[in-house]
Amino acid sequence: VRIESHNRRQAAAVLAALLAGCQPEVVVSPPAQQRIPYRPEPVGRFVYMNQPDAEKYFISGIYGLESNAWRWAGPTAVLRFHLTETESLAYVMKFAVPRELTAQIVPVHLRILINGQRWQDLSYDQQGIYDLEKPAPAAILKPQSDNLVTIAIERPPVSDSRAPEPKFILVQVGFQPLAKKS
């Protein structure tokens, strides 16, 4: 460090820098290994809630495995699926509307969004186990990339803030090749 003049202020600044250990500018690099969600682990197009790597598919709103078969989900469950193709796919979901939910909200409105776009609105008056299978909308699916599926329970505009979060039961969900009809 060279002091250009006898200016006391400068000398004080230099002294402060010396006391600070004259640290060089701190520069760091991005970590070599990236983690989710920007370079997520690869996933498939369909997930059973009890498969060992199921959690890789979950973004949010899905809870721990119950009875080695199903999981609570909601009020907004978000999953991701990797699709190589988008044509001729069916959206397949096995789920249940539990008694606890119908006790809270009747009818139960489920809204499904794919890649953020509203796709299906479903309504259920009774508890029960349901299978949903519908042709998937190729126009809003992205090939060779992850696709986000959001399943949301619509809450009534006025609800009891003390009530538990509404949840449904999810068993399996994802995209399967559309069954060819003979």
Partner: protein
């Protein structure tokens, strides 16, 4: 099998006695060398011998810590060598005491002294239950002992404070553990009273000095502090000794006193940063007396021997000689500027006092003297009469005492806890007593007797409990069964400090070397495992942030700022924050760069620069939605985050994933062209929201803790403070990758299994 109570008590008494004897011997040896011994009275020899020797012993232990030589046998050898050195040589008779023999009436104070001695000794010998004593004072002492000296401890701000007293605690702790350290501090309280009496004899104010010593010593905050492993009473002793020695030196200009003045002033800083004023006071006094520079330099030189080691230690270990303060001047990755600001604020406004309204200061006399709950200590109602001390201004000595009171009360404004007034309380007591003894002697004696008796009665614990119902930090009844180890230590401590059981649980369930993260402090003097507390270091704050991010929506990467421009070849891109805010901090969860539709995966060859807090810049490019780079300073224009590339890259967009807890930020994006020129990019900015991937973030929080070497988490389901995460974790620890391995009451200990 439990050790016999007699053996336990013997170890405690030996350890504290050996420490005091070593200190006294070191002081005696040194003061004889400087010649000061020759001009001291017998009582002064005891007081200054112990105090000056304690300062030297502290420095010796510092050196042993710095060289990792803290072993019991080395400490025994050191103490023995000091005792031998101190006891050699001829013993000159002490000077006859000015005024000696005229203080016989002091025996009237004997019954009060006996009662309070009975109370204080029991508390000093009992196991440590004080908040800071069972917290950092003895936790660090224990760690230095186990690790044989200083290690790089950057996860506990208290390890960066000056620790002159902890060095003495360590000497005693090595043989007698916690209670021995408490007794060492108690010795300083006794020495303060002795120093006040000695001062009275030296300056022919025996009666006022004795009354002042009673005022001071019987004060509830002094009693509880002086019988704990704190340092305020030690600081009170040394600040008073500086004053004492300066007045003594003024009367005879004896150069023999200059080293002791320097040591006393320097050791004030070594005990506690708030003691820093002692040195300028001493130097200012010498200069005021127009002494030659040689004498001023001598005092400064001796003082520096006790100040510089702590500054050097911090400069080397924490890149900041004044750590954990002045982090703006000495930026470092260990203590955040925002923490320092918040900490300083709370220390100035306990319980929100005077945070918005300066008229709150009008409550302080009552709060300090009578209530005490908000300021965590009680001086006693007697000190409502403190303004009486101003009557002593009529005489020269009174003016000086008042100056000492005013000067050493100044640090209290930086931490308004009652105990921070203890150093000034010596002077306040003295000023009050001087004022009383300016009255005719019979009146003064009667007033003194009434006030001392009333003070003694009012401050006796069962009586205090009758007139004060506030949750005040003060002594209870004399715990002799615990002091004599007739009641086992664990029973006594767990009754007084429930969190003690959590500390013991950690010792049982966490293997040696395991690190535990805890949102709130625990009495970690009772565990040998490292506990990282959320607010005690930068790392603690970052880990806490990782755990809060999945719990608090406003902490998650909900906002996306997308800047788009026509594709350009750029060597770097940076974001300039242009807004100001007094408390809001800037943060970035993730920076994503795009070329057309392609996301550019960060490469290790890229360089990240951030100002402030460059150390954590990688957290904004680690792909984890849990972690984030934070400025850890309130918003100011010119903050920047910059990405440099080794070669120009074609870029057309950048996204910042940010949390909504920063509504006032304003951003500008700039690019560096191939020629190295920075200019604003003509970017269109869009902001949109998306919900954070909560489940993944919980898992990643655990992974982040593990990657930082933390494998265990202690939380309190009862919530409170930073434990607000505890209920979220307690509902489903598996979602976080945690496994509960222990529980005590509402406390839960988890192992992080990610």
């Amino acid at each position: 099998m439990r050790a016999s109570p007699l053996w336990a008590v013997a170890k405690i008494l030996f350890a504290s006695g050996f420490t005091a004897a070593s200190a006294y011997a070191a002081g005696r040896w040194f003061l004889r060398r400087t010649g000061a011994w020759r001009i001291f009275t017998a009582l002064e020899r005891r007081v200054f011998g112990f105090a000056i020797g304690a300062a030297w012993l502290s420095n010796v232990v510092f050196l042993l810590c710095a060289t990792h030589l803290v072993y019991p046998w080395i400490l025994v050898g050191t103490g023995a060598a000091l005792i031998v050195a101190g006891s050699r040589g001829e013993t000159e008779p002490a000077l006859s005491k000015p005024g000696a023999g005229r203080a016989g009436w002091l025996w009237l104070l004997a019954p009060i002294a006996a009662c309070y001695g009975y109370l204080y000794l029991a508390h000093a010998m009992a196991p440590e239950i004080s908040p800071d004593g069972a917290g950092y004072h003895l936790s660090l002492t224990g760690r230095y002992f186990r690790e044989h000296g200083f290690r790089l401890i950057t996860t506990n701000m208290y390890a960066l404070l000056s620790q002159g007293m902890e060095m003495l605690f360590l000497f005693a702790y090595a043989f007698g553990r916690h209670s021995a350290a408490k007794l060492v501090h108690f010795a300083f309280l006794l020495s303060t009273a002795a120093a006040m009496l000695s001062f009275g004899r030296r300056f022919r104010i025996e009666q006022p000095a004795a009354v002042a010593a009673a005022f001071f010593t019987l004060s509830p905050v002094v009693g509880v502090d002086g019988t704990s492993s704190y340092n305020d009473c030690a600081l009170a002793l040394f600040t008073f000794l500086v004053f004492y020695l300066l007045l003594f030196w003024e009367s005879n200009h004896a150069p023999e006193l200059l080293p002791a003045i320097g040591i006393s002033a320097g050791f004030c800083y070594a005990i506690k940063y708030t003691g820093f004023l002692a040195l300028p006071f001493a130097l200012g006094f010498l200069m005021w007396k127009r002494r030659p520079w040689k004498e001023v330099r001598k005092v400064a030189g001796f003082a520096s021997l006790f100040i510089i080691p702590w500054m050097l230690k911090n400069a080397i270990l924490a890149s900041n000689p004044f750590a954990p303060f002045f982090n703006r001047l000495f930026p470092n990755p260990y203590i955040h500027v925002s923490f320092e600001q918040t900490y300083a604020y709370f220390m100035r406004h306990y319980s929100g006092l005077a945070d918005h309204n300066w008229s709150d200061y009008l409550q302080f006399p009552r709060e300090l003297a009578v209530a005490g709950g908000k300021l965590q200590g009680l001086l006693g109602p007697l000190f409502l009469l403190a303004p009486l001390g101003l009557l002593s201004l009529r005489k020269r000595l009174g003016r000086r005492v008042c100056l000492g009171a005013a000067l050493f009360a100044l640090p209290w404004f930086s931490n308004i806890g009652t105990r921070f007034l203890i150093p000034a309380l010596v002077f306040i007591s003295l000023a009050m007593a001087l004022a009383i003894w300016e009255q005719p002697k019979p009146v003064a004696a009667a007033v003194s007797a009434i006030l001392v008796a009333a003070h003694a009665v009012a401050c006796w614990p069962p009586v205090t409990g009758r007139w004060n119902r506030h949750p005040v930090w003060r002594l209870g009844d004399a715990p002799w069964r615990a002091a004599l180890r007739l009641e086992p230590e664990n029973e006594y401590v767990s009754r007084a400090v429930p969190a003690y059981n959590a500390a013991r649980m950690i010792d049982r369930l966490v293997p040696p070397g395991g690190r535990v993260f805890s949102p709130e402090a625990i009495p970690d003097a009772y565990t040998s495992r490292e506990v990282i507390v959320s607010y005690q270091s930068a790392l603690g704050e970052i880990l806490m942030d990782d755990l809060l991010t999945p719990v608090l929506r406003d902490f998650g990467p909900v906002w996306t700022f997308r800047f788009e421009w026509n594709p350009q070849d750029l060597k770097g891109v940076r974001f300039i924050q242009t807004a100001s805010h007094e408390s809001e901090k800037w943060s970035i969860h993730e920076v994503l760069l795009f070329s057309g539709e392609d996301y550019l995966v960060p490469r290790p060859s890229w360089r990240l620069r951030a100002d402030p807090n460059p150390w954590d810049a990688a957290l904004a490019m680690d792909g984890s939605p849990t972690t984030r780079w934070r400025s850890w300073r309130p918003l100011y224009p010119g903050m920047r985050f910059q990405v440099d590339f080794p070669e120009p890259m074609r870029l057309s967009a950048v996204e910042l994933r940010c949390s909504p807890d920063q509504p006032h930020i304003a951003l500008r994006v700039e690019g560096e062209d191939a020629a190295g020129r920075w200019s604003p990019l003509p970017a269109k900015m869009k902001r949109f929201e998306r919900e954070a991937p909560i489940d993944q973030m919980k898992k990643l929080a655990g992974i982040e803790l593990r990657s930082r070497g933390v494998s265990y988490l202690l939380t309190d389901l009862a919530g409170g403070g930073m434990n607000l995460i505890a209920p979220h974790i307690g509902r489903n620890p598996q979602a976080w990758g945690f496994r509960e391995i222990g529980a005590y009451g509402s406390m839960r200990l988890y192992r992080i299994e990610n």
